[in-house]
C-alpha cells in the first residue's frame, strides 16, 4: 500500500513509534511528483528546500518527544491563489508570475501551527475562473485517470495532486463549484464549507461573497481532520463567522438512521448523463439500506442559478481585480507613455482571455444604465434561490444529487464555448449562492472516469454532511480506487 493510502491515524501512530519520519513522508511526496508530474502538471511551484527544512525540524521534535497534533508532518499542497509568505503565489496568471507574498493566509498559518509540510503550490484556472484548468496561463493540469481529460477546476491541481498520490491532502477554493467539481472529476473528496466558516484572509479574491477555502482529501475522515484545523473566526476577515467550532471527527459515527434526504428533481433532469444519474440513484439506495429515507423535492429556481452566478461573480470579480494595476506588484508593461496607459497595458498583457471576459461582463453589469437590469436583478434572484433551500431544509436534513452533470470532458472540447463550460457548474452553483456547505464524494465510474455525489447541508451543519458522507463511504469501495499512473 502506498504511504499516502494509509489512514491518517495510522500515519500518526507510525510517526509516534518512529517507524516513519516526516523526512520519509516528504521524500515520498517529491519522488511521486518526480515520477508523475511531467504528465499531470499539478504543480506550479515546488517548495522543496522549505519542505526539507521543515521535515528536519519536525523530525527533531519527534526525537524530543511530546504531544503531536494529528496533522503533524503530513505533506500538503496549497492552491496557488492562497498566499504563502516567501513562496511564489501566481494565481496561475502571467500578471502575478513573480509575486512574492509579504504575508501568509490565515489557513496557511493554521496549517503551520498544525505542523503540516507545504510541498508546493498547485495549478488552477487563472484567478480561479474556469472549470477545467485549461485557463491556467502556464499549462493545463491533466486528469490522473486519463490524461486526455481535464481534472476539472478551478482547483484542478489541488484535486489531481491528491488523486495522483503526490500529497496527503490539499487546500482549494470554491466560488461556484471549484473544490467539489474537480474532486468529482478526479475521484476524491472535496468539501466546500459554509460561507464564513474558514477565513478568506490571504485568499486572492475572485467573488468575495462566494469564495470559500476547503480541503481536498482521499476520504471523508481526512476531510473532517483538515476542516477542524482550518475552521474558525478570524478578525482579519470581516466576513468571518463568529461561531463555535464543533468537533467534526466525532460526527463520523457511521449512523445515518432516520436522516431525511431531499433529492431535487432539477438535479437529475435534463442534461444529466444517464450514468451519473444511475450512480446517484444507487447511492440513494445505499443510504436507504442504512436506514435513511429519501424523497424527491424541488428547488424551482435552479434553472436561473447559472445566469445569476455569472452576473454576480463577474461583477464582484471586475471590482476585485481592479487592484491589479501594475503599480504595487505584478508585472508592469514596459515603457508606458502615461499612468493610464500603464494600467491598460499591464492589465491587457497580464490577464488571459477568460479573466478579461469576466471583467468585461462584470463591468458591463455594473455600468450605468444596466445595474438594475443585471446586477440588482441577479441579487434578487439569489434571494429566491436561497429560499428554495430554506424551504426544503424545513423538512429534510440533507439534500443529495450529483456534483456535476457529467464525468470529466476531454481537454480542448469546450474551450471555444464559455456558456457550455459554465453549465458544468449547474449543480454546484446554487449551493454557493445559498452559502451552505456541501461535499463531493466518489460514487462510481463511467468509462473509467470518476463520478461525484454531492451531499448538501444546512448552514454550519458540516457535522451532518460529513456524517452522511462518511457512512456512505464505509459501505462503498469507490474512494479506494486509484488511477494507474
Amino acid at each position: 500500500m502506498a504511504l499516502f493510502d494509509l489512514r491518517l491515524q495510522e500515519v500518526h501512530n507510525q510517526l509516534k513509534k518512529k517507524e516513519l519520519s516526516v523526512g520519509d513522508l516528504v521524500d515520498a511526496s517529491y519522488s511521486r511528483i518526480a515520477a508523475t508530474d511531467a504528465s499531470i502538471q499539478a504543480f506550479l511551484t515546488l517548495n522543496e528546500e522549505g519542505a526539507r527544512a521543515a521535515a528536519a525540524e519536525f523530525d527533531g521534535a519527534l526525537t524530543a518527544g511530546g504531544e503531536l497534533g494529528l496533522l503533524f508532518g503530513l505533506p500538503a499542497g496549497i492552491k496557488d491563489n492562497i498566499v504563502t509568505e516567501g513562496l511564489l503565489t501566481t494565481c496561475a496568471s502571467q500578471f502575478l508570475r513573480n509575486y512574492d507574498p509579504i504575508y501568509s493566509a490565515t489557513v496557511v498559518k493554521k496549517l503551520k501551527s498544525a505542523q503540516t509540510v507545504t510541498i508546493g503550490k498547485l495549478n488552477m484556472d487563472e484567478f480561479a475562473m474556469g472549470g477545467s484548468n485549461e485557463n491556467s496561463s502556464f499549462y493545463p493540469t491533466r486528469n490522473p485517470w486519463n490524461t486526455d481529460y481535464v481534472p476539472g477546476g478551478s482547483s484542478g491541481g489541488s484535486a489531481a495532486s491528491v488523486a495522483a498520490g503526490q500529497v496527503y491532502f490539499s487546500l482549494g477554493s470554491d466560488t461556484g463549484g471549484s473544490i467539489r467539481q474537480p474532486a468529482a472529476y478526479c475521484g476524491i473528496v472535496g468539501l466546500k464549507p459554509t460561507y464564513g466558516l474558514v477565513s478568506r484572509y490571504g485568499l486572492v479574491a475572485f467573488a468575495s461573497s462566494l469564495d470559500q477555502i476547503g480541503p481536498l482529501t482521499k476520504n471523508v475522515e481526512d476531510s473532517a481532520y483538515v476542516l477542524q484545523a482550518i475552521a474558525g473566526y478570524d478578525a482579519n476577515d470581516s466576513t468571518s463567522a463568529n461561531v463555535d467550532i464543533p468537533d467534526y471527527v466525532s460526527a463520523l459515527t457511521g449512523d445515518v438512521k432516520g436522516l431525511r434526504i431531499g433529492v431535487p428533481k432539477e438535479y437529475l433532469g435534463q442534461g444529466i448523463d444517464p450514468k451519473v444519474k444511475e450512480a446517484v440513484i444507487a447511492a440513494l439506495k445505499q443510504f436507504e439500506s442504512l436506514g435513511a429515507t429519501w424523497e424527491e423535492v424541488s428547488l424551482p429556481h435552479t434553472e436561473y442559478a447559472v445566469a445569476t452566478y455569472y452576473l454576480l461573480a463577474s461583477s464582484e470579480a471586475s471590482s476585485n481585480l481592479a487592484r491589479f494595476d501594475g503599480v504595487r506588484y505584478g508585472v508592469r508593461a514596459e515603457n508606458p507613455d502615461n499612468l493610464l496607459e500603464l494600467y491598460r497595458k499591464s492589465r491587457s498583457q497580464g490577464f488571459g482571455s477568460e479573466v478579461k471576459r469576466r471583467i468585461m461582463l462584470g463591468t458591463y453589469a455594473l455600468s450605468s444604465g444596466y445595474y438594475d437590469a443585471y446586477y440588482l436583478k441577479a441579487q434578487k434572484v439569489r434571494t429566491l434561490i436561497k429560499q428554495d433551500f430554506d424551504n426544503v431544509f424545513k423538512d429534510f436534513d440533507l439534500i443529495i444529487g450529483p456534483t456535476a452533470p457529467t464525468p470529466a470532458f476531454r481537454i480542448g472540447e469546450q474551450v471555444g464555448d464559455p456558456l457550455t463550460m459554465y453549465l458544468n457548474d449547474i449543480c454546484t452553483i446554487p449551493v454557493s449562492l445559498a452559502g451552505i456547505p456541501a461535499i463531493s464524494v466518489p460514487c462510481g465510474f463511467a468509462d473509467g472516469l470518476p463520478i461525484g455525489l454531492q451531499i448538501i447541508g444546512k448552514a454550519f451543519d458540516e457535522r451532518t454532511v460529513l456524517r452522511a458522507a462518511h457512512a456512505f463511504e464505509q459501505h462503498t469501495e469507490h474512494h479506494k480506487q486509484r488511477p494507474q499512473l
Partner: protein, 95 residues
C-alpha cells in the same frame, strides 16, 4: 438588448483594458450570448424581493482604533515594479 463593438470598447475603457480588434469581435459575440442567456432572469417577477448581497447577517465590522504593528516600508515595496525613495514610482501624472 444586444451589445455592439462600440459598447465593448466603452466597457473595456471603464475596465482599463486594451483589447485587440480580434478580442473586441470575440467578446462582442460571446458577451451577447452570455447576456442573452442572462435575460432568462426576466422571466421571474422580483418586485418586492429583497436583494441578497451576502448570505451572512454580518454588517460593518470595525476594530478598536489603536496602533498596531504594520509592515515595514521595505516589505511593502518588495514586489514593486518600480520604486524611488521608499515609494512606488509611476509615470508622471501631470506634465
Amino acid at each position: 438588448m444586444s451589445i455592439t463593438i462600440k459598447d465593448v470598447e466603452h466597457v473595456a475603457n471603464l475596465a482599463r483594458l486594451e483589447l485587440s480588434e480580434q478580442e473586441k469581435e470575440q467578446f462582442t459575440s460571446q458577451l451577447n450570448a452570455i447576456l442573452k442567456y442572462a435575460e432568462k432572469l426576466d422571466e421571474l417577477q422580483t418586485d418586492g424581493v429583497e436583494p441578497t448581497s451576502h448570505v451572512l447577517p454580518v454588517h460593518n465590522v470595525t476594530r478598536e482604533d489603536v496602533v498596531r504593528e504594520s509592515v515595514t516600508n521595505e516589505t511593502a515595496l518588495r514586489n514593486a515594479p518600480d520604486e524611488e525613495d521608499g515609494q512606488f514610482k509611476v509615470p508622471a501624472v501631470l506634465e
